[in-house]
């Protein structure tokens, strides 16, 4: 690959940065669609460059597809050096293509969706900044630069969740997202410090090539590093126990939920684990933790998703659940399967969110399932594309989700440690998944139209992205067919020495999970179309369980009690009592003590001349007496 093209990779990040700056500063003077068009173009250009880079990369032999391009020294201090450089390899290329393509489509959609917004150009400025940060995160050639992108996407997420800043709930949700991400980043930062401490470098090449030499398999440091890094991933990718910000993040505009909180940013944790798999390979404990956190989160949030009423929140819990699958994938060393699922999830979940946006657009922003019904006739494009998305999510044969999810489950099945348990929970979750998504589809699109509503199909600029994503949600899977498995072959130079699966096992597990997925759809169909009174009676029978699920296991309330309130109380105590009364009190008391003493002493100064004269006289006599004793 020639150096010009490699240099041009810098522009993959720079275009959105320029777009963001231009739209942000000049936004006041730009006419409405123009800001959106400029922003979309900048992302489109990034996509074009990444495709060009992709085609020149696949011309090279597989083991030469790695480039570390340094642009300048970022933080040099003595022996410590961190470069501003990009790492171009199959993994990062695949990621930037997914990110820039999905972003481009969502930018287009946003032009239509946000057209009545007052702060139209501000929205696109944030969105472009997000794309730039995400691409930086993916392309970074060292941990510190990765962290820059990592925090950058967190910032944009904060800004975009709180985009409707007049709403207190939106502002709170944004802040919650940022702070919980920071808790994860706290671990991530310590992980980076430990990496530098161990390897004396933060560059990927140096760290990964030295890792097997410096750290022995299963060593404590490897476990510590990977667990700390995973803490960051748990925050960013909304896994247990730091997932609580993602459902609230739905306060943001729907395209933002599609782009940031489904397709790209939240998958950064999965990307990071895959990127640093060399380190994870050294620590079976960490791998186990990743896989277990993944599958438990997947099951947990799918169970919450079954009973929620807000369509965006259902999708949010679904995202958390699917991210859990991805972590299960990378946790059982099926890295390419994890990345594959990341990619197909990006397509179908973005599609589902955009469809939800289209539904909201059609029904005056309504997101409550209880107030939506019978939209099939009025929103044909949305209906069909959403069904495709839902099928893909539930792993219906022939869709992208089918291949990628089953790839992960098959790998989980053959894992030596607790593989059967992981797989079992995985397929149960698959059943729950198809149940909750089709529950939503059946309620929203079937039945009678709500009275006094005038649903209407969205404009072309919004339906066009839906169709593109729907196509991707189907054909995206064919890069990973069990036999040929293009994606696996493409990524294999990155993930050397990881497990290869016999297609025999894969076929077996596919059959089982297919039964569960279809069973989920069928149950939803029976519950909500055939026998609509059944859910109500079920609710009454299992009232306790229902209440627990409806209130999301009361986790928000528990966190509030354990962390937030005591924190506030402690702060108030420090501020009003400890600092004011004791520390500052000590200072002021010292002053007062001196003052009261001085009050006493000043009484000697009566102001009467004769008193002073007398004191002088006495002093004189004493002095004389003292001298006389000395003479003797």
């Amino acid at each position: 690959m020639n150096s010009t093209l490699l240099n041009s990779v810098l522009f993959v990040v720079l275009f959105p940065v320029f777009g963001s700056l231009f739209v942000g500063i000049a936004g006041k003077w730009l006419k409405k669609p123009l800001a959106g068009i400029i922003a979309s173009c900048s992302v489109g250009l990034s996509f074009v460059i990444s495709v060009f880079t992709f085609f020149s990369l696949i011309k090279l032999p597989p083991d030469l597809r790695f480039f570390d391009k340094v642009f300048f020294q970022w933080v040099p201090v003595g022996h410590f050096l961190v470069n501003f450089g990009f790492y171009v390899d199959p993994l990062s290329l695949l990621m930037i293509m997914v990110v820039s393509s999905v972003s481009f489509v969502i930018h287009l959609y946003s032009i239509g969706y946000m057209k009545d917004e007052e702060h139209f150009s501000r929205y696109f400025s944030y969105l472009n900044l997000f794309v730039a940060s995400m691409l930086l995160l993916v392309l970074a050639d060292n941990f510190l630069l990765l962290f820059m992108g990592w925090e950058g996407v967190g910032l944009c997420s904060y800004l975009l969740i709180g985009f409707w800043f007049h709403k207190k709930s939106a502002a709170d949700a944004g802040r919650k997202a940022f702070i919980i991400n920071r808790i994860g980043d706290f671990g991530f930062l310590l992980g980076i410090l430990l990496i530098y401490h161990t390897f004396k470098s933060l560059n990927y090449n140096v760290v990964f090539s030295n890792a097997p030499l410096i750290l022995s398999h299963g060593s404590g440091i490897a476990t510590a590093i990977t667990l700390l890094l995973f803490m960051g991933a748990v925050g960013k990718s909304a896994q247990l126990p730091l997932y609580v910000w993602l459902p609230d993040a739905m306060e943001g505009p729907t395209p933002v939920s599609a782009l940031i909180h489904a397709a790209t940013m939240v998958t950064a944790g999965v990307y990071m684990v895959a990127r640093t798999h060399v380190l994870y390979q050294l620590s079976p404990v960490s791998m186990g933790v990743v896989a277990f956190v993944g599958i438990i989160t997947a099951f947990y949030s799918a169970s919450i998703g079954m009973v929620q009423f807000d369509i965006k929140r259902i999708l949010a819990y679904s995202t958390i659940s699917q991210l859990g699958y991805m972590f299960l994938g990378v946790g059982v060393a099926a890295y390419s399967a994890g990345i594959f699922h990341l990619m197909s999830h990006a397509f179908f979940k973005a599609l589902l969110f955009l469809c939800a946006g289209s539904i909201m657009h059609a029904s005056a922003g309504e997101t409550d399932l209880r107030k939506l019904s019978g939209l099939r006739k009025y929103l044909p494009v949305t209906f069909w594309t959403m069904v495709i998305g839902a099928l893909s999510l539930s792993g219906f044969p022939g869709t992208a989700g089918f291949f990628s999810k089953d790839d992960i489950l098959a790998h989980a099945y053959v894992t030596p440690y607790y593989g059967k348990f992981l797989w079992g929970l995985g397929i149960i979750t698959a059943a729950l998944t198809s149940f909750y998504i089709f529950r939503m589809i059946f309620i929203v699109f079937w039945g009678d139209k709500q009275k006094e509503s005038h649903p209407h199909e969205s404009p072309k600029i919004m339906t066009f992205p839906l169709i593109i994503l729907a196509l991707l949600a189907i054909i995206g899977g064919y890069v990973g067919l069990p036999e040929s498995n293009l994606i696996h072959r493409f990524l294999s130079p990155v993930f050397l020495g990881t497990a290869v699966l016999s297609s025999n096992v894969e076929l077996k597990t596919i059959m089982v999970s297919l039964v569960f997925s279809l069973g989920g759809i069928a149950t939803a169909w029976y519950f909500y179309l055939v026998n609509p009174s059944l859910p109500e009676s079920m609710k009454k029978k299992a009232a306790g369980l229902y209440k627990l699920l409806l209130n999301k296991y009361f986790v928000d309330e528990i966190y509030e009690r354990i962390f937030v309130l005591p924190g506030r109380k402690l702060s108030s105590f420090f501020a009003d009592v400890f600092d004011a009364k004791y520390i500052d009190g000590a200072v002021n008391e010292t002053g007062k003590w001196i003052k009261t003493n001085s009050e006493q002493w000043r009484k000697i100064h009566t102001g009467y001349l004769r008193n002073y004269a007398l004191i002088i006289l006495i002093g004189g006599i004493l002095l004389l007496g003292f001298l006389m004793t000395k003479i003797h």
Partner: protein, 100 residues
Amino acid sequence: MIPIKLYLVLSGVLFVIGTSGVLVRKNVLVMLMSVEIMLNAVNLAFVSFARYMMLPKGQVYVFFSITVAAAEVIVGLAIIISIFHKKESMDVDDMNVLKG
């Protein structure tokens, strides 16, 4: 010849008179006069010693002291007059603005 002892006794008596004058009288003018008496008591002691020890140095000091006393009286009287203008009183107890 009168022994030096008597001169010194006289000087001591004058000094005590002066001191008690400063301490007990209220009138500033009188206090100033008492200070003068104290000064002269010291002067007397000086010249007595000078004569007794046959050293001229002591007499030089007395001249010096008298000159300074003259200057002091002038300044002192000036201060007293300006205070009297302000306070219309010669009572030292009224002059207590420095009281703490």
